[in-house]
Symmetry: C2
Amino acid sequence: MLIFIGTGLWDEKDISLRGLEYAKNSDEIYAEFYTSKPSTTIEKLERLIGKKVNLLERADLEERSIEIVKKAKDRDVVILVPGDPMIATTHSSIRVQAEMCGVKSKVIHSSSIVSAICGITGLHNYKFGKSATVSYPYGDTVSRAPIDVIHANQSIGAHTILFLDLHPEPMRIDKAIGILEKIDKKVSNLFGVGIARAGSEDCVVKCERLEKLKKFDFGDPMHILVILAKLHFTEYEYLRVFANAPEELETIVN
Amino acid sequence: MLIFIGTGLWDEKDISLRGLEYAKNSDEIYAEFYTSKPSTTIEKLERLIGKKVNLLERADLEERSIEIVKKAKDRDVVILVPGDPMIATTHSSIRVQAEMCGVKSKVIHSSSIVSAICGITGLHNYKFGKSATVSYPYGDTVSRAPIDVIHANQSIGAHTILFLDLHPEPMRIDKAIGILEKIDKKVSNLFGVGIARAGSEDCVVKCERLEKLKKFDFGDPMHILVILAKLHFTEYEYLRVFANAPEELETIVN
Protein backbone atom coordinates (compact mmCIF):
# COMPACT_ATOMS: atom_id res chain seq x y z
CA MET A 1 0.00 0.00 0.00
CA LEU A 2 1.08 3.58 -0.74
CA ILE A 3 0.43 5.88 2.22
CA PHE A 4 0.62 9.67 1.89
CA ILE A 5 1.13 11.21 5.33
CA GLY A 6 0.86 14.96 5.89
CA THR A 7 3.53 16.32 8.23
CA GLY A 8 1.52 19.50 8.74
CA LEU A 9 1.97 23.21 8.76
CA TRP A 10 5.41 23.90 10.24
CA ASP A 11 7.76 21.22 11.61
CA GLU A 12 7.78 17.52 12.53
CA LYS A 13 5.64 18.15 15.63
CA ASP A 14 2.71 18.96 13.36
CA ILE A 15 2.32 15.33 12.26
CA SER A 16 -0.74 13.64 13.80
CA LEU A 17 -0.60 10.67 16.17
CA ARG A 18 -2.25 8.63 13.40
CA GLY A 19 0.37 9.74 10.88
CA LEU A 20 3.25 8.87 13.20
CA GLU A 21 1.73 5.44 13.92
CA TYR A 22 1.40 4.64 10.20
CA ALA A 23 4.97 5.81 9.56
CA LYS A 24 6.35 3.65 12.40
CA ASN A 25 4.51 0.58 11.09
CA SER A 26 5.58 1.03 7.45
CA ASP A 27 8.28 -0.86 5.52
CA GLU A 28 9.85 2.04 3.66
CA ILE A 29 9.67 5.83 4.07
CA TYR A 30 10.20 8.69 1.63
CA ALA A 31 9.82 12.42 2.18
CA GLU A 32 9.53 15.28 -0.27
CA PHE A 33 10.32 18.94 0.47
CA TYR A 34 9.58 20.05 -3.09
CA THR A 35 5.88 21.05 -3.09
CA SER A 36 6.43 23.08 0.10
CA LYS A 37 9.38 23.90 2.39
CA PRO A 38 8.78 22.47 5.85
CA SER A 39 10.84 23.69 8.79
CA THR A 40 12.19 20.22 9.56
CA THR A 41 14.98 18.00 8.33
CA ILE A 42 15.34 14.39 7.22
CA GLU A 43 17.37 13.77 10.39
CA LYS A 44 14.63 15.08 12.69
CA LEU A 45 12.03 12.97 10.90
CA GLU A 46 14.26 9.90 11.20
CA ARG A 47 14.74 10.49 14.93
CA LEU A 48 11.01 10.90 15.45
CA ILE A 49 9.96 7.83 13.47
CA GLY A 50 12.96 5.68 14.34
CA LYS A 51 13.50 4.62 10.72
CA LYS A 52 15.47 5.68 7.66
CA VAL A 53 13.77 8.42 5.60
CA ASN A 54 14.76 8.85 1.95
CA LEU A 55 14.52 12.29 0.34
CA LEU A 56 12.66 12.47 -2.97
CA GLU A 57 13.67 15.00 -5.61
CA ARG A 58 11.37 16.68 -8.12
CA ALA A 59 12.15 14.10 -10.81
CA ASP A 60 11.31 11.23 -8.42
CA LEU A 61 7.85 12.72 -8.04
CA GLU A 62 7.18 13.89 -11.56
CA GLU A 63 9.07 11.54 -13.86
CA ARG A 64 10.00 8.41 -11.92
CA SER A 65 6.97 8.08 -9.65
CA ILE A 66 6.25 4.65 -11.14
CA GLU A 67 9.31 3.33 -9.25
CA ILE A 68 7.80 4.18 -5.87
CA VAL A 69 4.41 2.88 -6.93
CA LYS A 70 5.99 -0.47 -7.84
CA LYS A 71 7.69 -0.71 -4.44
CA ALA A 72 4.28 -0.28 -2.81
CA LYS A 73 2.89 -3.38 -4.55
CA ASP A 74 3.75 -5.75 -1.73
CA ARG A 75 5.06 -3.45 0.99
CA ASP A 76 3.72 -0.47 2.96
CA VAL A 77 5.47 2.53 1.48
CA VAL A 78 5.04 5.97 3.05
CA ILE A 79 5.51 9.36 1.38
CA LEU A 80 5.80 12.18 3.93
CA VAL A 81 4.41 15.38 2.49
CA PRO A 82 4.54 18.90 3.98
CA GLY A 83 1.11 20.26 5.02
CA ASP A 84 -1.92 18.19 4.00
CA PRO A 85 -1.31 15.77 1.11
CA MET A 86 -3.06 16.28 -2.25
CA ILE A 87 -3.12 20.07 -2.03
CA ALA A 88 -0.36 19.70 -4.62
CA THR A 89 -1.70 18.03 -7.78
CA THR A 90 1.62 16.17 -8.03
CA HIS A 91 0.43 13.86 -5.26
CA SER A 92 -3.01 13.23 -6.67
CA SER A 93 -1.46 12.17 -10.01
CA ILE A 94 0.70 9.61 -8.20
CA ARG A 95 -2.34 8.30 -6.31
CA VAL A 96 -4.26 7.79 -9.59
CA GLN A 97 -1.20 6.13 -11.13
CA ALA A 98 -0.99 3.74 -8.16
CA GLU A 99 -4.66 2.75 -8.44
CA MET A 100 -4.20 2.13 -12.19
CA CYS A 101 -1.35 -0.26 -11.29
CA GLY A 102 -3.52 -2.10 -8.77
CA VAL A 103 -1.74 -0.55 -5.77
CA LYS A 104 -4.06 0.58 -2.97
CA SER A 105 -3.39 3.91 -1.32
CA LYS A 106 -4.38 5.94 1.72
CA VAL A 107 -4.11 9.57 2.81
CA ILE A 108 -3.43 10.64 6.41
CA HIS A 109 -4.40 14.28 6.72
CA SER A 110 -2.68 17.04 8.65
CA SER A 111 -2.81 20.80 9.19
CA SER A 112 -2.55 23.02 6.13
CA ILE A 113 -2.28 26.73 5.44
CA VAL A 114 -5.61 26.35 3.58
CA SER A 115 -7.54 26.06 6.86
CA ALA A 116 -4.96 27.62 9.22
CA ILE A 117 -5.34 30.92 7.37
CA CYS A 118 -8.68 31.41 9.17
CA GLY A 119 -7.14 31.21 12.63
CA ILE A 120 -4.22 33.40 11.59
CA THR A 121 -6.25 36.19 9.96
CA GLY A 122 -9.74 35.81 11.48
CA LEU A 123 -11.17 35.83 7.95
CA HIS A 124 -14.25 33.64 7.68
CA ASN A 125 -13.63 30.33 5.99
CA TYR A 126 -16.84 30.47 3.90
CA LYS A 127 -15.73 33.78 2.31
CA PHE A 128 -12.56 32.55 0.60
CA GLY A 129 -12.79 32.22 -3.17
CA LYS A 130 -10.42 30.58 -5.63
CA SER A 131 -6.70 30.77 -4.93
CA ALA A 132 -3.73 31.35 -7.23
CA THR A 133 0.07 31.31 -7.25
CA VAL A 134 2.27 34.34 -7.92
CA SER A 135 5.05 32.95 -10.13
CA TYR A 136 8.44 34.43 -10.93
CA PRO A 137 8.46 36.06 -14.40
CA TYR A 138 9.57 33.74 -17.17
CA GLY A 139 11.86 36.03 -19.14
CA ASP A 140 9.62 39.05 -19.85
CA THR A 141 6.44 37.04 -19.41
CA VAL A 142 4.44 37.44 -16.22
CA SER A 143 1.40 35.22 -15.55
CA ARG A 144 -1.82 37.27 -15.31
CA ALA A 145 -3.56 34.42 -13.45
CA PRO A 146 -3.39 35.93 -9.92
CA ILE A 147 -4.91 39.23 -11.08
CA ASP A 148 -7.68 37.46 -12.99
CA VAL A 149 -8.48 35.35 -9.92
CA ILE A 150 -8.52 38.43 -7.63
CA HIS A 151 -10.99 40.15 -9.99
CA ALA A 152 -13.17 37.04 -10.31
CA ASN A 153 -13.27 36.65 -6.52
CA GLN A 154 -14.03 40.33 -5.93
CA SER A 155 -16.98 40.05 -8.33
CA ILE A 156 -18.55 37.62 -5.84
CA GLY A 157 -17.23 39.24 -2.63
CA ALA A 158 -14.58 36.59 -1.92
CA HIS A 159 -11.09 36.84 -0.44
CA THR A 160 -8.12 35.48 -2.41
CA ILE A 161 -5.24 33.38 -1.05
CA LEU A 162 -2.08 33.92 -3.10
CA PHE A 163 0.58 31.24 -2.76
CA LEU A 164 4.06 32.50 -3.58
CA ASP A 165 6.38 30.64 -5.94
CA LEU A 166 8.91 28.35 -4.24
CA HIS A 167 11.44 27.86 -7.03
CA PRO A 168 14.24 28.69 -7.45
CA GLU A 169 13.74 30.19 -3.96
CA PRO A 170 10.71 30.97 -1.76
CA MET A 171 9.28 34.31 -2.93
CA ARG A 172 8.81 37.13 -0.42
CA ILE A 173 5.76 39.34 -0.06
CA ASP A 174 7.44 42.53 -1.37
CA LYS A 175 8.53 40.72 -4.52
CA ALA A 176 5.05 39.26 -5.03
CA ILE A 177 3.36 42.65 -4.69
CA GLY A 178 5.86 44.11 -7.16
CA ILE A 179 4.93 41.42 -9.68
CA LEU A 180 1.19 42.03 -9.19
CA GLU A 181 1.68 45.79 -9.65
CA LYS A 182 3.48 45.22 -12.94
CA ILE A 183 0.37 43.48 -14.30
CA ASP A 184 -2.15 45.91 -12.82
CA LYS A 185 -1.03 49.13 -11.11
CA LYS A 186 -4.40 49.46 -9.37
CA VAL A 187 -3.78 46.55 -6.99
CA SER A 188 -1.51 48.81 -4.86
CA ASN A 189 -4.62 50.31 -3.36
CA LEU A 190 -6.23 47.02 -2.30
CA PHE A 191 -6.02 45.80 1.28
CA GLY A 192 -4.08 42.60 1.90
CA VAL A 193 -2.85 40.46 4.77
CA GLY A 194 0.73 39.24 4.66
CA ILE A 195 1.71 36.16 6.68
CA ALA A 196 5.20 34.84 7.39
CA ARG A 197 6.10 31.47 8.93
CA ALA A 198 2.53 30.29 9.53
CA GLY A 199 2.31 27.69 12.29
CA SER A 200 5.60 28.69 13.94
CA GLU A 201 6.14 30.43 17.27
CA ASP A 202 7.24 33.61 15.46
CA CYS A 203 4.47 33.83 12.88
CA VAL A 204 4.07 37.45 11.64
CA VAL A 205 0.71 38.77 10.39
CA LYS A 206 0.18 42.28 9.06
CA CYS A 207 -2.79 43.88 7.31
CA GLU A 208 -2.37 47.04 5.17
CA ARG A 209 -2.87 48.41 1.67
CA LEU A 210 -0.53 46.53 -0.68
CA GLU A 211 1.58 49.64 -1.39
CA LYS A 212 2.43 49.83 2.33
CA LEU A 213 2.57 46.09 2.91
CA LYS A 214 5.34 46.00 0.30
CA LYS A 215 7.60 47.98 2.64
CA PHE A 216 6.84 45.92 5.76
CA ASP A 217 9.62 43.63 7.01
CA PHE A 218 8.17 40.12 7.35
CA GLY A 219 11.52 38.39 7.94
CA ASP A 220 12.32 34.97 6.55
CA PRO A 221 10.02 32.87 4.30
CA MET A 222 7.66 31.07 3.95
CA HIS A 223 5.39 33.97 3.02
CA ILE A 224 1.79 34.03 1.85
CA LEU A 225 -0.56 36.85 0.88
CA VAL A 226 -4.33 37.29 1.13
CA ILE A 227 -6.17 39.94 -0.91
CA LEU A 228 -9.27 41.16 0.90
CA ALA A 229 -12.79 41.55 -0.44
CA LYS A 230 -15.46 43.34 1.60
CA LEU A 231 -15.22 42.42 5.28
CA HIS A 232 -17.67 41.27 7.90
CA PHE A 233 -17.39 43.43 11.02
CA THR A 234 -15.92 40.57 13.07
CA GLU A 235 -13.23 40.02 10.42
CA TYR A 236 -12.32 43.71 10.71
CA GLU A 237 -12.18 43.43 14.49
CA TYR A 238 -9.88 40.37 14.41
CA LEU A 239 -7.53 42.01 11.90
CA ARG A 240 -7.35 45.15 14.05
CA VAL A 241 -6.44 43.07 17.11
CA PHE A 242 -4.18 40.39 15.64
CA ALA A 243 -2.82 41.87 12.38
CA ASN A 244 -2.26 45.48 13.41
CA ALA A 245 -4.65 46.65 10.69
CA PRO A 246 -5.09 50.43 10.19
CA GLU A 247 -8.34 52.07 11.25
CA GLU A 248 -9.14 52.96 7.63
CA LEU A 249 -9.68 49.24 6.98
CA GLU A 250 -13.18 50.04 8.23
CA THR A 251 -13.89 51.56 4.79
CA ILE A 252 -14.23 48.03 3.34
CA VAL A 253 -16.52 46.66 6.05
CA ASN A 254 -19.80 45.62 4.48
CA MET B 1 -2.83 31.89 28.28
CA LEU B 2 -5.81 30.56 26.30
CA ILE B 3 -4.78 27.79 23.91
CA PHE B 4 -7.10 26.54 21.17
CA ILE B 5 -5.98 23.07 20.06
CA GLY B 6 -7.45 21.38 16.99
CA THR B 7 -8.14 17.69 17.51
CA GLY B 8 -8.40 17.18 13.73
CA LEU B 9 -10.60 15.53 11.19
CA TRP B 10 -11.90 12.32 12.77
CA ASP B 11 -10.90 11.02 16.22
CA GLU B 12 -8.37 11.72 18.99
CA LYS B 13 -5.52 10.24 16.90
CA ASP B 14 -5.80 13.24 14.56
CA ILE B 15 -4.36 15.62 17.15
CA SER B 16 -0.78 16.69 16.34
CA LEU B 17 2.24 15.93 18.53
CA ARG B 18 2.44 19.67 19.23
CA GLY B 19 -1.22 19.78 20.26
CA LEU B 20 -0.83 16.82 22.60
CA GLU B 21 2.28 18.36 24.18
CA TYR B 22 0.50 21.66 24.85
CA ALA B 23 -2.50 19.82 26.33
CA LYS B 24 -0.30 17.73 28.64
CA ASN B 25 1.51 20.84 29.89
CA SER B 26 -1.65 22.88 30.53
CA ASP B 27 -3.38 23.61 33.83
CA GLU B 28 -6.99 23.11 32.78
CA ILE B 29 -8.64 21.50 29.76
CA TYR B 30 -12.02 22.00 28.11
CA ALA B 31 -13.44 20.40 24.97
CA GLU B 32 -16.37 21.35 22.80
CA PHE B 33 -18.27 19.01 20.46
CA TYR B 34 -20.74 21.69 19.42
CA THR B 35 -19.25 23.28 16.27
CA SER B 36 -18.56 19.80 14.83
CA LYS B 37 -19.15 16.19 15.93
CA PRO B 38 -15.83 14.41 16.38
CA SER B 39 -15.71 10.63 16.55
CA THR B 40 -14.12 10.62 19.99
CA THR B 41 -15.28 10.91 23.59
CA ILE B 42 -14.27 12.89 26.64
CA GLU B 43 -13.01 9.62 28.19
CA LYS B 44 -10.72 8.85 25.23
CA LEU B 45 -9.33 12.38 25.31
CA GLU B 46 -8.73 12.12 29.06
CA ARG B 47 -6.92 8.79 28.63
CA LEU B 48 -4.75 10.24 25.87
CA ILE B 49 -3.81 13.43 27.70
CA GLY B 50 -3.76 11.97 31.21
CA LYS B 51 -5.83 14.83 32.64
CA LYS B 52 -9.44 15.74 33.33
CA VAL B 53 -11.28 17.18 30.31
CA ASN B 54 -14.41 19.27 30.90
CA LEU B 55 -17.14 19.35 28.25
CA LEU B 56 -18.35 22.79 27.16
CA GLU B 57 -21.95 23.32 26.08
CA ARG B 58 -23.17 25.82 23.52
CA ALA B 59 -23.98 28.41 26.19
CA ASP B 60 -20.46 28.11 27.66
CA LEU B 61 -19.09 29.12 24.26
CA GLU B 62 -21.61 31.72 23.20
CA GLU B 63 -22.90 33.33 26.39
CA ARG B 64 -20.51 32.50 29.21
CA SER B 65 -17.18 32.52 27.35
CA ILE B 66 -15.94 35.30 29.62
CA GLU B 67 -15.71 32.74 32.43
CA ILE B 68 -13.14 30.65 30.56
CA VAL B 69 -11.28 33.76 29.45
CA LYS B 70 -10.96 34.84 33.09
CA LYS B 71 -9.57 31.44 34.10
CA ALA B 72 -6.86 31.86 31.45
CA LYS B 73 -5.59 35.08 33.06
CA ASP B 74 -2.99 33.36 35.20
CA ARG B 75 -3.16 29.73 34.08
CA ASP B 76 -2.72 27.83 30.81
CA VAL B 77 -6.24 26.91 29.75
CA VAL B 78 -6.82 24.67 26.74
CA ILE B 79 -9.95 24.43 24.61
CA LEU B 80 -9.96 21.29 22.45
CA VAL B 81 -11.82 21.93 19.21
CA PRO B 82 -12.80 19.40 16.50
CA GLY B 83 -10.96 19.94 13.20
CA ASP B 84 -8.84 23.08 12.88
CA PRO B 85 -9.77 25.87 15.34
CA MET B 86 -11.24 29.17 14.08
CA ILE B 87 -13.07 27.62 11.14
CA ALA B 88 -16.06 28.25 13.40
CA THR B 89 -16.47 31.99 14.04
CA THR B 90 -17.49 31.12 17.61
CA HIS B 91 -13.82 30.50 18.39
CA SER B 92 -12.49 33.65 16.76
CA SER B 93 -14.93 35.74 18.81
CA ILE B 94 -13.61 34.19 22.03
CA ARG B 95 -10.02 34.85 20.92
CA VAL B 96 -10.81 38.54 20.32
CA GLN B 97 -12.60 38.70 23.68
CA ALA B 98 -9.53 37.24 25.41
CA GLU B 99 -7.17 39.77 23.81
CA MET B 100 -9.51 42.60 24.87
CA CYS B 101 -9.24 41.30 28.46
CA GLY B 102 -5.45 41.21 28.26
CA VAL B 103 -5.32 37.41 28.01
CA LYS B 104 -2.84 36.10 25.44
CA SER B 105 -3.90 33.24 23.21
CA LYS B 106 -2.47 30.71 20.81
CA VAL B 107 -3.84 28.38 18.12
CA ILE B 108 -2.47 24.88 17.48
CA HIS B 109 -3.66 23.80 14.05
CA SER B 110 -4.84 20.38 12.91
CA SER B 111 -6.40 18.64 9.93
CA SER B 112 -9.69 20.01 8.63
CA ILE B 113 -12.26 19.01 6.03
CA VAL B 114 -11.41 22.34 4.32
CA SER B 115 -8.09 20.97 3.04
CA ALA B 116 -8.82 17.22 3.35
CA ILE B 117 -11.55 17.61 0.73
CA CYS B 118 -8.81 17.82 -1.94
CA GLY B 119 -7.34 14.43 -1.05
CA ILE B 120 -10.78 12.87 -0.75
CA THR B 121 -12.18 14.14 -4.06
CA GLY B 122 -9.10 14.97 -6.15
CA LEU B 123 -10.58 18.41 -6.80
CA HIS B 124 -7.90 21.07 -7.10
CA ASN B 125 -7.57 23.27 -4.05
CA TYR B 126 -7.23 26.50 -6.07
CA LYS B 127 -10.61 25.88 -7.76
CA PHE B 128 -12.81 25.96 -4.64
CA GLY B 129 -14.94 29.07 -4.26
CA LYS B 130 -16.96 30.31 -1.30
CA SER B 131 -18.66 27.74 0.90
CA ALA B 132 -22.08 27.68 2.56
CA THR B 133 -24.17 25.71 5.03
CA VAL B 134 -27.42 23.93 4.19
CA SER B 135 -29.65 24.64 7.20
CA TYR B 136 -32.81 22.90 8.32
CA PRO B 137 -35.92 24.93 7.34
CA TYR B 138 -37.12 27.31 10.03
CA GLY B 139 -40.86 26.72 9.91
CA ASP B 140 -41.68 27.32 6.22
CA THR B 141 -38.58 29.43 5.66
CA VAL B 142 -35.62 27.93 3.83
CA SER B 143 -32.34 29.86 3.52
CA ARG B 144 -31.49 30.65 -0.12
CA ALA B 145 -27.80 31.19 0.80
CA PRO B 146 -26.44 27.86 -0.51
CA ILE B 147 -28.10 28.33 -3.92
CA ASP B 148 -26.85 31.91 -4.20
CA VAL B 149 -23.31 30.77 -3.36
CA ILE B 150 -23.46 27.91 -5.90
CA HIS B 151 -24.52 30.38 -8.62
CA ALA B 152 -21.87 32.93 -7.63
CA ASN B 153 -19.18 30.24 -7.68
CA GLN B 154 -20.33 28.82 -11.01
CA SER B 155 -20.09 32.31 -12.53
CA ILE B 156 -16.32 32.16 -11.88
CA GLY B 157 -15.85 28.41 -12.49
CA ALA B 158 -15.45 27.46 -8.83
CA HIS B 159 -16.57 24.38 -6.88
CA THR B 160 -18.75 24.81 -3.78
CA ILE B 161 -18.35 23.04 -0.44
CA LEU B 162 -21.70 22.73 1.34
CA PHE B 163 -21.52 22.04 5.07
CA LEU B 164 -24.64 20.36 6.41
CA ASP B 165 -26.45 21.62 9.50
CA LEU B 166 -25.53 19.83 12.75
CA HIS B 167 -28.45 20.78 14.98
CA PRO B 168 -30.73 19.29 16.17
CA GLU B 169 -28.99 16.37 14.43
CA PRO B 170 -26.31 16.01 11.72
CA MET B 171 -28.06 16.42 8.35
CA ARG B 172 -27.67 13.70 5.72
CA ILE B 173 -26.93 14.23 2.03
CA ASP B 174 -30.39 13.13 0.79
CA LYS B 175 -32.06 15.63 3.10
CA ALA B 176 -29.68 18.42 2.01
CA ILE B 177 -30.35 17.79 -1.69
CA GLY B 178 -34.09 17.79 -0.99
CA ILE B 179 -33.79 21.21 0.65
CA LEU B 180 -31.73 22.59 -2.27
CA GLU B 181 -34.29 21.29 -4.80
CA LYS B 182 -37.08 23.04 -2.93
CA ILE B 183 -35.33 26.38 -3.52
CA ASP B 184 -34.27 25.69 -7.10
CA LYS B 185 -35.50 22.59 -8.96
CA LYS B 186 -32.68 22.93 -11.52
CA VAL B 187 -29.96 21.88 -9.07
CA SER B 188 -31.03 18.22 -9.50
CA ASN B 189 -29.15 18.16 -12.77
CA LEU B 190 -25.84 19.42 -11.36
CA PHE B 191 -23.00 17.05 -10.58
CA GLY B 192 -21.98 16.74 -6.95
CA VAL B 193 -19.68 14.69 -4.73
CA GLY B 194 -21.06 13.33 -1.49
CA ILE B 195 -18.68 12.42 1.32
CA ALA B 196 -19.44 10.51 4.52
CA ARG B 197 -17.17 10.13 7.56
CA ALA B 198 -14.17 12.01 6.11
CA GLY B 199 -10.89 10.98 7.74
CA SER B 200 -12.17 7.62 8.97
CA GLU B 201 -11.28 4.14 7.73
CA ASP B 202 -14.73 3.75 6.16
CA CYS B 203 -14.97 7.11 4.41
CA VAL B 204 -17.46 6.92 1.48
CA VAL B 205 -17.11 9.16 -1.59
CA LYS B 206 -19.56 9.14 -4.50
CA CYS B 207 -19.89 11.46 -7.50
CA GLU B 208 -23.16 11.69 -9.46
CA ARG B 209 -25.86 14.12 -10.57
CA LEU B 210 -27.68 15.36 -7.45
CA GLU B 211 -30.95 13.62 -8.40
CA LYS B 212 -29.13 10.27 -8.29
CA LEU B 213 -26.85 11.14 -5.38
CA LYS B 214 -30.00 11.69 -3.33
CA LYS B 215 -30.78 7.97 -3.58
CA PHE B 216 -27.27 6.77 -2.72
CA ASP B 217 -26.77 5.19 0.71
CA PHE B 218 -23.90 7.01 2.43
CA GLY B 219 -24.45 5.42 5.85
CA ASP B 220 -23.98 7.33 9.09
CA PRO B 221 -23.05 11.05 9.37
CA MET B 222 -21.02 13.26 9.26
CA HIS B 223 -21.91 14.08 5.65
CA ILE B 224 -20.70 16.86 3.37
CA LEU B 225 -21.53 17.79 -0.22
CA VAL B 226 -19.52 19.44 -3.00
CA ILE B 227 -21.22 20.98 -6.05
CA LEU B 228 -18.99 20.80 -9.10
CA ALA B 229 -18.12 23.53 -11.57
CA LYS B 230 -16.28 22.73 -14.81
CA LEU B 231 -13.56 20.13 -14.24
CA HIS B 232 -9.92 19.88 -15.15
CA PHE B 233 -9.23 16.54 -16.85
CA THR B 234 -7.20 15.27 -13.89
CA GLU B 235 -10.09 16.07 -11.52
CA TYR B 236 -12.36 13.98 -13.77
CA GLU B 237 -9.85 11.14 -13.76
CA TYR B 238 -9.55 11.12 -9.93
CA LEU B 239 -13.33 11.18 -9.47
CA ARG B 240 -13.70 8.27 -11.90
CA VAL B 241 -11.13 6.22 -9.98
CA PHE B 242 -11.90 7.15 -6.36
CA ALA B 243 -15.54 8.35 -6.37
CA ASN B 244 -17.10 5.92 -8.84
CA ALA B 245 -18.15 8.84 -11.06
CA PRO B 246 -20.23 8.05 -14.18
CA GLU B 247 -18.62 8.35 -17.60
CA GLU B 248 -20.99 11.20 -18.52
CA LEU B 249 -19.14 13.36 -15.98
CA GLU B 250 -16.83 13.97 -18.96
CA THR B 251 -19.45 16.41 -20.30
CA ILE B 252 -18.34 18.99 -17.73
CA VAL B 253 -14.60 18.66 -18.35
CA ASN B 254 -13.27 22.00 -19.54
